[in-house]
Amino acid sequence: MKFAVVVFPGSNCDHDAYHAVKHVLGQDAAFVWHKETSLAGADVVILPGGFAHGDYLRTGAIARFSPIMQEVRRFADAGGPVLGICNGFQVLLEAGLLPGAMLRNRSVKFQCEHVFIRVEQTDTPFTSACRQGQVLRIPIAHGEGNYYAEPDVVERLERNRQVIFRYTTAAGEVTPEANPNGSVHNIAGLCNEARNVVGLMPHPERACELAIGSADGLAILESAVRSVSQGAFPAAGAGAKAVAAAR
């Protein structure tokens, strides 16, 4: 199974995502430069964390114009699994692949710390190996992770079960204190209506080995492996098949 890790010039978690997929999960992984126009036959696409183009404007605001994003959109439209982590999530919001926007953290400061998130839905390619209500201990590291959407949008997200992760206490309770950045409804991650595109602010790739503090993030990446290998997502493997056909 092949993961594509998209590299924007200011990506800085690209190597971490690659390491987690390749060396911890033992899957095939490839970096895809943002100026490229092909996803190199990937089954899963990861938009990693970082500061895509410096993000002096809004986070991710320029990245959506990168050539590779057209291909990511095509891949997503065809049902392929796409995971946006942190800055990758922000890019997905700016690109309109997910609804809503990010505000500065309530603290008006960058925050790097472990938080707890609860898995709200398991019918996405990035939560299929999780239990409903499972609490994961995963780090955040962002200055603009305060998720916001208009009330009617939030209501639709909730009704459609598109909220995938929520900030909670260790016991899984949704409380204001457990919300590190002020996100509406404690939203830490969500999916699109087709459920194949998922974005979240916490960093699962930083939580794949106990040696560095937590292995809870593995469940998210393992979900992708399980979902794709079970053929649960129509376009999953489409890229690989196309490459095979071309040979």
């Binding site: 010039p9 200011g10 800085n12 978690c13 190597h15 971490d16 390491h19 987690a20 430069w33 100026k35 964390g49 970082g50 500061f51 183009h53 410096g54 993000d55 002096y56 603290s107 400061k109 960058f110 925050q111 790097c112 710390e113 780090p139 590291a141 200055g143 204190e177 960093h203 790739e205 930083r206 794949c208 080995e209 040696a211 560095i212 503090g213």
Partner: protein, 747 residues
């Protein structure tokens, strides 16, 4: 004919004698551009003219040293064909004038020094000093510096894995911002800042040159006064995204093998990079500054040569491989511009639209820069300050009050408010996060890890520069050894007042001697560093603050030890011996407002043995946690081992023999005797550790047990401290944050 007026010479910070020397070396009067070039290259910041004779005495070689001082950074062999490349640098003056940008560009500068050597930067540390936080202006400086460090490091994606912060009135008008960076390179692929090969092209790449930062190096070589705010235009503005592009592109260019040498344009910008690269390679460099990409119109050659605009690099490329290098930079949307070439004559020749505006032998700017053996005199304050009369202080305060106030003292309290703003996990190598002792990162692709710590206690150095500097080396190395890592190399950042004052020069010289002695005894050679002088405001110097960064190698990353206790029932063992050591302590400062007495005695042989014991004890799987006793002494150390664990502790220690018996309890609990470490060990293996300690001739005793929800410390069986863990932790955890935010629950 004389065209350079005297006041212009003076404005350039050059003395009459220095100017005469320039006339002699050039055999003519300098052009204005040349005057500017000499001024920055001969500034204290670039030339080390006051410090060089002393720095020469430091040990700089050893079996692991691959690169000592003189290059952009030092390098040590860490096995498996890899090198750790590291250095520490100050950005004190800019950080006072403009805290956010000053600190941010300090981070940017040290990162460039590391990747310039062909190393990928993987960790940052910082050592910061500020005035007391009850001063609103200090809070603004403090918050700005922290945000600046965060803003730059987080964006570029290099984790800040540790550091230290202390507070004292002497830093109110002159904060210290020292930043350390470490990178990994292949040992046989270290790149140098050398220009060679006649006809090889000299390239400029990175941000455009603007008028920012002109005379930054000269600013860093002058004292502050009330007019300092007028110097704001000399502080540069950082662009971490540009630096990220440069970092990736330069590493890619280095891997291509098309490069001869590379240097960043830091202090003294294009001037320093051209003449230093030429000088190291025994070659000359000829550049045409009209080709330099410029941000503003109408810049003069003087301005272009002296600009300290950030995120710029100078490269010498092998002949015939220019297109390849240009292609790599293009990929990263960077425009590499050919601005000159390497020559044979050993001169820096600068032209501007065909006109020669500077033509100077490189060595005149580097090796032949002035060297001063400045007058030294023992400071008048010293004898008096070393006299400490505890009896004159009256009855000591209650022990419980001391314990609680020391935990909440800003220098002791948790720095979480600070490091939560730093991305300390990016690159997924961080084994020991900030606030847990030395920072430790694993080296992917190997089983190894590197531990690093920066330390320096200005009070100790003020009271005894030689001993204080020895203690700084010992503490940094001890912190590294507490993780189980073997200390293998060091870097220093020497922050002092004006070298033109004999008492400051005396402090400096004695501190360097002490540092050398400790580095030799503990086998940690100094591979590079930085000197920051003129840290004064209105004639008052900061506490003399040499900061030492020590790097250690842990062969098996999985054995790494942190400071926090691990399990209920573990035995607590105290390594080292106590003493009646309140001189220069946090206690004296917090309760009596005093910096007095003599610093703790240091037995370097015992210190070396203690560090060997720590490394062996961790490797053998005996030591489960380790934390050295520093500010606040034993009681604070035990408490810190409990924090972030929800485990309490009960210990019972022998009283130290105190000269003033009324202060016996205080000295036992809060004295800062050196070479002591609190470790925990599984209860049934405690005897094994004590035996190992005996074999190394390190005093060791089981003093207590981990567990419960209280911190209890008894002296010879009599309970002296009995505090709820939750209460103590709240005091410690929120002391800094409450100056800025509403208090929050302990995480």
């Amino acid at each position: 004919m004389k065209t350079i007026p005297d006041d212009l010479i003076q404005q350039h910070g050059l003395t009459r004698n220095e100017y005469e020397h320039i006339l002699e070396m050039l055999g003519r009067e300098p052009t204005v551009t040349e005057l500017g070039i000499f001024s920055v290259m001969w500034s204290e910041h670039c030339s080390y003219k006051s410090s060089r004779v002393h720095l020469r005495t430091l040990p700089t070689s050893g079996r692991r040293v691959l690169q000592g001082p003189g290059e952009n950074a030092g390098a040590v062999d860490i096995g498996e064909g890899l090198a750790a490349v590291f250095k520490i640098e100050s950005h004190n003056h800019p950080s006072f004038i403009e805290p956010y940008q000053g600190a941010a560009t300090g981070v940017g500068g040290i990162i460039r020094d590391i990747f310039t050597m062909g190393a990928r930067p993987i960790a940052l540390l910082n050592s910061l000093r500020f005035g007391p936080l009850d001063d609103p202006l200090v809070r603004r400086t403090f918050a700005g510096v922290v945000a600046g460090i965060a803003g730059y490091g987080n964006s570029i994606g290099i984790p800040t894995v540790g550091g230290e912060i202390a507070f004292d009135e002497s830093y109110t008008g002159n904060p210290l911002v020292n930043v350390f960076c470490l990178g990994i390179a292949k040992a046989d692929e270290i790149v140098k800042g050398v220009a060679s090969g006649v006809g090889n092209a000299v390239y400029y790449v990175g941000a455009k040159t603007g008028r920012d930062g002109i005379h930054g190096a000269t600013m860093a070589s002058a004292e502050f006064d009330e007019k300092s705010a007028e110097k704001r235009p000399a502080v540069q503005v950082g662009d971490p995204f540009m630096e990220k592009l440069l970092l990736e592109a330069c590493l890619e260019v280095m891997r291509s093998g098309a490069l001869v040498g590379i240097q960043d344009m830091g202090a003294a910008g294009l001037t320093c990079s051209t003449c230093e690269m030429g000088s190291r390679g025994g070659a000359g460099i000829a550049i045409d500054v009209s080709l330099v990409p410029q941000r503003e119109t109408g810049m003069t050659p003087y301005e272009i040569m002296l600009s300290e605009s950030q995120e710029r690099m100078l490269l010498v490329v092998k002949r015939g491989r220019e297109a390849e290098v240009e292609r790599i930079f293009d990929k990263w949307d960077l425009h590499a511009v050919r601005i000159g070439e390497v020559t044979t004559d050993g001169r820096l020749r600068v032209t501007h639209h065909g006109e020669v505006v500077a033509d100077i032998p490189n060595t005149a700017l580097t090796d032949e820069a002035p060297v001063y053996r400045r007058p030294m005199a023992e400071p008048a304050y010293l004898a008096e300050a070393q006299r400490l009369s505890l009896a004159a202080l009256g009855a000591p305060p209650p022990v419980r009050e001391v314990f609680r106030r020391l935990l909440a003292s800003a220098s002791v309290a948790s720095k979480r408010w600070v490091y939560r703003q730093y991305d300390h996990m990016v690159r997924t190598n961080t084994l020991v996060v900030p606030g847990m002792g030395a920072g430790v990162v694993r080296v992917k692709g190997t089983a190894r890890a590197l531990a690093m710590s920066v330390d320096g206690n200005g009070r100790f150095v003020y009271l005894d520069p030689f001993l204080g500097a020895e203690l700084a080396v010992a503490e940094a190395a001890r912190n590294v050894a507490c993780t189980g890592a073997q200390p293998i190399g060091a870097t220093n950042c020497l922050n002092f007042g004006s070298p033109e004052r004999p008492e400051i020069m005396w402090q400096f010289a004695r501190a360097v001697e002490g540092m050398g002695a400790a580095c030799r005894a503990l086998e940690v050679p100094i591979t590079g560093g930085n000197v920051s002088l003129y840290n004064e405001t209105d004639g008052r110097a900061v506490l003399p603050t040499p900061v030492v960064g020590v790097v250690g190698l842990l062969e098996d990353a999985s054995t790494v030890v942190r400071r926090a206790f691990r399990a209920d029932g573990d035995a607590i063992v105290l390594l080292g011996r106590g003493g009646d050591e309140l001189g220069g302590s946090e206690y004296l400062k917090v309760f009596h407002g005093l910096i007095r007495g003599t610093p703790p005695v240091l037995d370097l042989a015992l210190e070396a043995a203690l560090q060997r014991l720590l490394v062996r004890g961790v490797a053998a799987g005996l030591i489960r946690s380790a934390h050295d006793c520093a500010e606040g002494g034993l009681a604070v150390t035990v408490a810190e081992c409990c924090f972030n664990t929800s485990l309490g502790a009960s210990v019972d220690v022998p009283a130290v023999a105190a000269a003033v018996p009324e202060f016996g309890q205080i000295a036992t609990l809060f004295g800062e005797a050196a070479s002591r470490v609190v470790v925990s060990v599984e209860a049934d293996r405690a005897a094994e550790l004590v035996a190992l300690a005996k074999a190394e001739a390190v005093p060791a005793a089981v003093v207590g047990r981990v567990g419960g929800d209280r911190i209890r410390v008894a002296i010879d069986g009599e309970l002296a401290i009995d505090e709820s863990l939750a209460d103590a932790e709240d005091l410690w955890a929120n002391a800094i944050g409450r100056w800025f935010d509403r208090p929050r629950a302990v995480a």
